[in-house]
């Protein structure tokens, strides 16, 4: 009896979860995402750029984010590289003893 009462509730909850899982997630597109071509900004006519224009602000934000993202990736890669060198150095010295 109890099972019968809860069946529609469970079915509705399951349907809700299934439908929300179908929602289009922006992260799905990250794999094939194109990087912003921020170098193109250098060739734009800077005298005509209005810093109060939302388009200009959005472009600046996009390119700043991209630069920071690249910098942090580089830092991470450099840190990883240093860690690897350090650990290989330690291993090397252990082998010498």
């Amino acid at each position: 009896m109890k099972t019968k009462r809860f069946t529609p509730i469970i079915a509705l909850a399951a349907l809700g979860i299934a439908l929300s899982a179908q929602a289009h997630d922006p992260k799905e597109h990250m794999k094939d995402a194109e990087k912003p071509d921020c170098a193109a900004m250098k060739n734009m006519d800077h005298s005509k750029m209005d810093m109060n224009d939302p388009v200009m602000q959005a472009m600046m934000k996009q390119c700043m984010n991209d630069m920071h993202h690249n910098d942090s990736e580089k830092d991470q890669a450099q840190a990883d590289h240093q860690d690897n060198e350090k650990s290989s150095g330690e291993q090397h010295s252990e082998h010498q003893h």
Partner: protein, 193 residues
């Protein structure tokens, strides 16, 4: 009295003829349904009027958010536009695609201002509230038998408003600006919801 009876009789006979004729035409299969044959003027006008009146009525109560000009909205909406809409509604530097050539009615070229992309009612000029509400409603609910899907079931209102915000700027974007704004970066993902 006899004049009234004659009038009513004529009215009934006319109604029967119209109904029977319409039914016969409907079942005859004579109307061309292929997307490569345009509607006749009367059908086009009827369908367009039906669509525009319905959208205008349904969209009239929509409340616009106050921050449609926020750069974050342009970045989030631009990335979604590029992924979901540009195939049919084009991007700066493109004048046609397989979809614009094959769909009927042809999807409007949203890189052009409202008065230039062939939709008289879609004047998406700045601060044109009815046009902005119309865009939101169409993106959310789609249009029957036109190829325009309803994005509402998989996308929340904020995400649709982001796309609407981007559409207000699209007609004035260069190809370079479009590329930068629509590239899907971490910031566009963060502001996507």
């Amino acid at each position: 009295m006899s004049a009234l009876t004659t009038f009513i009789k004529s009215l009934v006979i006319t109604a029967v003829i119209v109904l029977v004729g319409g039914g016969l035409f409907l079942y005859s299969g004579l109307y061309p349904m292929g997307a490569d044959v345009p509607h006749n003027r009367l059908t086009y006008w009827l369908l367009e009027t039906l669509r525009e009146r319905s959208v205008a009525r349904a969209a009239s109560d929509i409340k616009l958010p106050g921050d449609l000009n926020a750069p974050e909205r342009l970045l989030a909406g631009g990335a979604d536009y590029n992924d979901m809409c540009a195939g049919c509604h084009l991007k700066p530097g493109k004048t046609q695609s397989d979809f614009t050539l094959g769909l009927y009615p042809a999807p409007p070229n949203l890189t052009l201002a409202g008065d230039k992309h062939g939709h008289e009612h879609a004047d998406n000029t700045e601060n044109d509230d009815p046009a902005i509400k119309r865009q939101f409603w169409i993106i959310k609910h789609g249009i029957k038998a036109s190829g325009m899907p309803a994005w509402g079931p998989g996308h929340d209102d904020e995400r649709i408003w982001n796309m609407v915000a981007f559409l207000q700027r699209l007609p004035r974007l260069t190809a370079e600006q479009y590329q930068i704004l629509t590239a899907r970066s971490n910031s566009s993902v963060e502001h996507g919801h």
